[in-house]
Symmetry: D2
Subunit: 134 residues, 4 copies
């Protein structure tokens, strides 16, 4: 990812990047991809009927992570409150998806990996939130 | 939009639809489209330099409305809290964008229309939130 | 939708709108919503294992329709070729999804409605393509 | 990114991954992020009026890359043709955006970086296309 490099050249940033927020943006894209992939892998399992809720949370989490990444990338002074709120919702989506995936982790490797990506993204959102505290 | 018709046939819904939520989904798609369009029209204005913040809020609002519409469409018992949180963030994004667009409404018709769409979406989110109160 | 009204006020459009393209934008949002809803309804069916391919095509179609709507809304002289190519891919995604949904239409009302929305979007893309012919 | 790891555990893939396609998925997310960032940095430049077309192509490219990444992640036997078409459109969006950004690269570092990310994504799409040839 070019995230750190490109944000560092933004006229309003001028090299003084918020590295916790940048790590969070990368984690959001990673989590979005992993969730879309886990949903598709769940659909291919014999036990798909047991994975309905997992697939739904995967898809919710993917959509919310993608929107969070975009809003956080477009960080501007005046909408910090909006970014904080998105980070907060994203933490919840990642937590819910990580919990659900963890239940299936023993039987499905993709759920184990997805739980890991979701937990990583939740933590990255939390760190970013702290870095933007009032 | 087929929103009401298709959601009404969901096995978990069986005709007992939440009409406030359905109106909100339609308003989110409408607002996303209007915001993308307003951003592009702002870019084409001679006064583009005065419309920077408007364009950013347009793009944030469009991304958040699209994600909210998707999550609200995938409504399932277990993630009502997540939907409520998204509706809440979406209300804020719409409010911010409506306020900013209103400042430019006198000079730019697209901003006037966009302020109207954003205010409508904010109200639809609020009604949907009330309909999903604990 | 405010699509026609807001695009009509774009400085580069000045009232001379391409109505076939505007109908196509609306159809893309409608189709995206219907596909997300159909995928979630399919997940809730007892026969979910028979609906795997339907769910995947629903999700592909929803993502492609949303991107097409955004690109078509940001129509500018210099990227007409890109819009045409997106309309073309969108037609294919809608066709594939309409065909698959039609197979399940007898047993699942949401698939019948989704096939209708997808076919409508495919036709709207085709009309828009013709309106933008070289 | 967990892309390679998670796709490798998909029941239909079972470790025999298409590595060119996986690199392409990662490149699409990287390019989407860089384009959103470049658009926002362009908006913040004094010379924003000269960067209108760059911002539009950035936004088109970001939307198309995100949709391509999702569709390519949900790769399934039956929609290979759809993936190929999306990769093809994505190549064009990346090419157009790389060309435009290159014009501004001397004056704006974010445009130089974005041109690099777009060119990388275009090449990754081309490699993926070749790997999926009939």
């Amino acid at each position: 990812m070019h995230t750190h490099e490109v944000i560092g050249t933004h006229p309003d940033v001028k090299g003084s990047t918020n590295d916790a927020l940048i790590r969070c943006i990368d984690a959001c894209y990673d989590c979005a991809q992993t969730c879309i992939s886990c949903a598709d892998a769940c659909l291919a399992e014999d036990a798909v009927a047991d994975l309905r809720q997992c697939i739904r949370l995967n898809l919710d989490c993917a959509d919310i992570c993608a929107a969070t990444a975009a809003v956080a990338t477009r960080r501007t002074g005046s909408n910090e409150e909006l970014i904080r709120r998105m980070l907060d919702v994203c933490m919840m989506a990642c937590s819910q998806c990580a919990d659900e995936c963890r239940h299936h982790a023993e039987h499905h490797e993709h759920c184990r990996i997805c739980a890991e990506a979701c937990a990583g993204c939740r933590d990255a959102c939390q760190d970013a939130l702290r870095s933007m505290a009032h």
